[in-house]
């Protein structure tokens, strides 16, 4: 094992997960949760590019610590987000939720620093397990069912990845995880791509996300919105940059997500569809594949983790306080939850790309990268999605959650929001604004430093263009506010097909099995049962003649010993003392005889 100054953040999170169940006390152990994210932040800012923690295992070389600019920028934002997420969840007493969260985060770091496909696969699956529990531990019927579907779906995604990496190894003799040339792509590369696309929620493989994330715990969904899809973005950027199919897929995702978000009534499902949409920007940037586009995708992943985490925190805080996340049941809460509203709006304006907030930098850089690469339709699709984003997350969700045309709802009973939740939200809100005002904070960590100056965000035109686009999108919302009003409903999505496939597989397996079972029962009745009866008669004979004889005689013997024993065990102390004396004398006699 070769190491130098590298510290793997996953180690700190795994140690926390192992230690947590054994930590005593009701609450004091919670402070220890902060150690791992602080260690991760230190590591993300101090680790230097290189290969570390190489292990030989079964004739393979595993690289647990492959560090370069791409892995470092993702590790950095993962570390910051883990700190904000843990701050937000410090009030939770359920150790199980914390163990699931830190295992999940450890999986994310493991993937980001993986230098080979085997290491990647192990941590990929660890994420899948951790996140399943973050949904399940909400402990409602619908969350348990959703977690089961989520796990099944990610198992399929994991198997696609496993099949691809094994076939790739068979063909190339290596598990090395690096760029794959689209010009010489083989079927196994497409299997790996499909596995990654499941986690990136690429349409039509995306429906697990809006199914599971709204059903996770309030704090668990904050973690999930940051790590699974962005880890997938990272692995796509590392292996599949420049694959044109991703540029198209990303644009479809960006528009598809906002269309569904415009229909939805459930606040966290709206945000889930917006993960699909925003990850679409990143996937499109990766598909375009130029240095500025990949920089844009990485910057957008960074900004997105911060504002999406904050959006889920805001919606989660409303759910925590009001007990519902359905917009038609909310409204009139702006004055009741003013700081939640302010933090939510910082995130909403960030995701919309409003000047001053970080989305203004990263979203426009991605669109610029696509346009400069002459991917005009991709760039135009991303602009369309920007309009839909502002309408659905920037206006519709906060309007109906906090105002809704209703007077302030002073009568609604609200559960007090723990102060640590405000700290988590405040941290991310500050970072969203800082990155927007000082883009060099983000620029200095982008994977292609030579391309960072191709796009200058703070020009008069860029500010005015964003202001006009969003302002007049706002006018569209104002005119359409009575049309877009949300109502209780389930909107069919591709999970209808997943369920159909699941049901078909169930019947495919169960019906032939039932048919075979019927045939087997008949054969058994006709042939097997007679044989069994014959064997049974033989067994009975053997049992009566041999076994019973042994067992009965053993029993008789035991009874005889018992009767003799009962003579001595009469409960009278004097008899016992006498017996002990006799025994002691006997032992002494034997000893004396032996000495002699």
């Amino acid at each position: 094992m070769g190491t130098s100054s590298f510290f793997h953040p996953a180690i700190a999170f795994l140690m926390t997960a192992v230690a947590l169940p054994f930590l005593p006390g009701r609450r004091r152990w919670k402070w220890l949760l902060l150690i791992a994210p602080l260690a991760a932040i230190y590591a993300a800012f101090t680790n230097q590019p290189g290969d570390y923690l190489t292990l030989s295992w079964l004739g393979q070389t595993l690289k647990l610590g492959h560090v370069d600019r791409l892995s470092l920028i993702f590790a950095q934002v993962f570390a910051v987000m883990s700190l904000a997420g843990i701050l937000y969840s410090l009030h939770v007493d359920d150790k199980g939720q914390h163990v699931a969260a830190v295992l999940y985060v450890a999986g994310g770091f493991g993937c980001v620093f993986a230098g080979d496909f085997l290491t990647l696969f192990v941590f990929w699956e660890l994420m899948s397990i951790g996140s399943t529990f973050l949904v399940m531990l909400n402990r409602t019927r619908e969350s348990v069912l959703a977690s089961f579907r989520y796990f099944l779906y990610h198992t399929v995604g994991g198997l696609l990845l496993l099949g691809g990496l094994l076939l790739r190894h068979q063909a190339l003799g290596t598990f090395d995880f690096g760029p794959i040339d689209p010009g010489s792509a083989q079927p196994y590369d497409f299997l790996i791509l499909a596995g990654f696309c499941v986690n990136a929620a690429v349409v039509p493989l995306h429906a697990w996300l809006p199914d599971a994330y709204p059903r996770g715990t309030v704090t668990g969904s904050v973690f999930m919105c940051a790590f699974t899809t962005k880890t997938a973005v990272y692995v796509l950027a590392r292996a599949f940059a420049g694959w044109e199919i991703l540029a198209i897929a990303g644009t479809v995702m960006a528009v598809y997500g906002v269309l569904y978000a415009s229909m939805e009534n459930n606040a966290r499902r709206i945000l889930s569809y917006h993960i699909v949409s925003q990850v679409g920007y990143m996937v499109a940037g990766i598909g375009v594949g130029t240095a500025i586009a990949v920089n844009g995708a990485s910057a957008h992943a960074y900004a997105h983790i911060l504002y999406k985490g904050l959006l889920f925190m805001g919606a989660g805080a409303v759910l925590y306080a009001a007990g519902t996340q359905r917009l038609d049941e909310l409204g009139g809460l702006a004055a009741r939850l003013p700081w939640v509203m302010v933090c939510y709006m910082v995130a909403a304006l960030s995701i919309s790309g409003m000047p001053i907030f970080n989305g203004f930098i990263s979203k426009n850089m991605t669109i610029f990268g696509a346009a400069e690469a002459h991917q005009t339709w991709v760039a135009l699709g991303l602009e369309v999605a920007a309009v839909g984003t502002f309408i659905s997350v920037g206006l519709k969700l906060p309007y109906f959650a906090f105002w809704g045309g209703k007077p302030t709802d002073w009568k609604r009973s609200l559960k007090p929001i723990p102060v640590n939740m405000y700290f988590g939200m405040g941290l991310l809100a500050v970072l969203c604004v800082l990155q927007g005002v000082f883009p060099q904070i983000l620029y200095r960590y982008l994977p292609f430093p030579e391309a960072v100056h191709e796009y200058v965000p703070w020009t008069a035109w860029h500010v005015l263009q964003s202001a006009m686009l969003l302002g007049f999108s706002g006018l569209a919302f104002y005119l359409m506010r009575h049309v877009i009003t949300p109502h209780k409903a389930l909107n069919l999505d591709f999970d209808w097909f997943y369920r159909l496939i699941g049901l078909a597989l169930y019947h495919l397996i169960s019906r032939p099995m039932a048919w075979f079972d019927n045939i087997w029962t008949n054969v058994w009745n006709a042939v097997g049962l007679r044989g069994l009866m014959g064997t049974a008669f033989g067994s009975v004979f053997f049992d009566k003649g041999v076994i019973d004889g042994i067992v009965d005689n053993t029993a008789y013997g035991t009874r005889g010993v018992g009767r003799v024993g009962a003579l001595f065990q009469n409960g009278r102390l004097q008899y016992y003392l006498g017996l002990m004396t006799v025994l002691a004398l006997g032992v002494f006699a034997l000893f004396f005889y032996g000495v002699l």
């Binding site: 069912l145 309009v387 069919l492």
Partner: protein, 98 residues
């Protein structure tokens, strides 16, 4: 007024009181005027500040982005709420998960 007002923890703070005070019809009207004035100002600025690097053809013209935002926004809401959702809408417990 019940005592669980802002965030369920006592009386509303300054921000809560300010937000509550903005819901009167007069204040809403004032905010609406501010909003339309801001839109007008942005459009006016577009007369002087223009796009020197158009990517889509039509975006070389002034007022393209205001028109784009408004048209795409209205079209998207109508498409989604009037055409798509009526086709795919089911009851909340359609799958029996709740």
């Amino acid at each position: 007024m019940p005592d669980n007002t802002p965030d369920g923890q006592g009386q509303p703070g300054a921000l809560g009181r300010f937000l509550a005070s903005q819901l009167s019809p007069e204040k809403i009207r004032a905010w609406r005027i501010v909003f339309f004035a801001a839109l007008a100002l942005a459009a006016l600025l577009n007369v002087f500040i223009t796009n020197h690097e158009p990517h889509f053809g039509l975006d070389r013209y002034r007022f393209f982005w205001p028109a784009f935002g408004l048209a795409v926004g209205v079209a998207m809401v109508l498409l989604v709420k009037k055409i798509i959702q009526p086709l795919i809408k089911r009851t909340e417990d359609h799958y029996g998960d709740l």
